[in-house]
Amino acid sequence: MKNEKIKISTKNLNVFYGAKQALFDVNLELEEKKVTALIGPSGCGKSTYIRCLNRMNDVIDICKVEGSIKIDGQEINKKDVDVNLLREKVGMVFQKPNPFPKSIYDNIAYGPRIHGLADNKDDLDKIVESSLKKAALWEEVKDRLNQPGTGLSGGQQQRLCIARTISINPEVILMDEPCSALDPIATAKIEELIDELKKTYTIVIVTHSMSQAARVSQNTGFFHLGKILEFNLTEKIFKNPDNKLTQDYITGRFG
């Protein structure tokens, strides 16, 4: 790969759920302001991997994360790291859209409020508007900002969640199968959004859809049984992968 700036790097990353090991010695370097797709069969560890990047695995009691995770060269897998500040920097969008049971405005405003990013109501209004604009949702909701976020369609809800993630100015956005619950048009809108967002944010996307990975990402990593088998430019992976298992997976010869 070209000599681009590395935003996230994991070395010898091993993750255990109790006695069961989920990730084995994962070494990856993810480039800044690029979209990296992680593909692989179910249960191969892709979601576990990205949840390490914002320490969401801390929520699960029996989960143990060993190894080095560095963001901008700073180690985050150690005790004295402020997890809440980390999550301000590394945002996450989930598979099923999960807007808060609040108004659209309050959904977006919640993050800036708890992190103290706005000095007054005007600032907050500006943040809400710009986040919704960046998520390509502003035009559709600008007249109903105080209606509940749960009243939107699935695709709109997911864009709302993306806007909510952007509102606190992260540097990295992690997406865990963001389109799997959406219809094709909504999916296409999100993919267009990802194209735009990569100019500002580093994006890591876990997806079950090979064609989506091929469409949106610049780099792709193939996970299999907790190991990263191949990591390369997306073009290479989908035209001529080095690893036979990778090829078998993307052509549908094994699941």
Partner: protein
Amino acid sequence: MSEHIVSSYEGQLKTLHSTVLKMGALCENQFSNSIIALVKKDEELVDKVIGKDERIDELEKKIDDQVVNLITLRQPMAIDLRETVSAMRIAAELERIGDLAKNIAKRVKHVKVDLNNGNFSLIKSASDLVQGNLKKTLDSYSKNDEKLALSVWSSDKEVDVIINKLLEDLLNHMKNEKKNIESLTHLLFIAKNIERIGDHSTNICEYVHFLIKGEDIKGDRPKG
């Protein structure tokens, strides 16, 4: 390689592969028959060859349709994509080979000289060599043998050498036997056709290599 989980997908790829092979076999036949017709001056064979060319065109159209269907409906990736794209390219080359064979057959009635004597043995040698290369090329596609394809690709030089000799020979004949100039001119064209069939075979070898290795053959084609 293991099979696709969806067996109809596997079936479609296999059908594509065998259609290309069928077309290839037909082209091989056409070429060898055209040379036999030339040497034996067999008019019936000539008509047969000319008539059969339509079938080759049909097969090319069929392969094109299969390819477009595969891309639309299956969105093939990696090796499947290379298979699909290569089949289309190879079919195009085979169609040209078929046309060239038909062209040779058309010229048979205009060649009035006897080719069985030693003066025109080079034509036979050249066509034998190219026929052999074409067969090896199609074998390499059938068996996924990129080494075989590479060897044929490298031996294009020999074809160039023998064709150059043949052309020189014919030109000499033309200078000395002015009465046979019509026949000899046609023989000149036939020699060029044989050379071009060889070139198309070499193209097919390049596609077979890309299909199997996923990258182009490195280096320039050796020329004689």
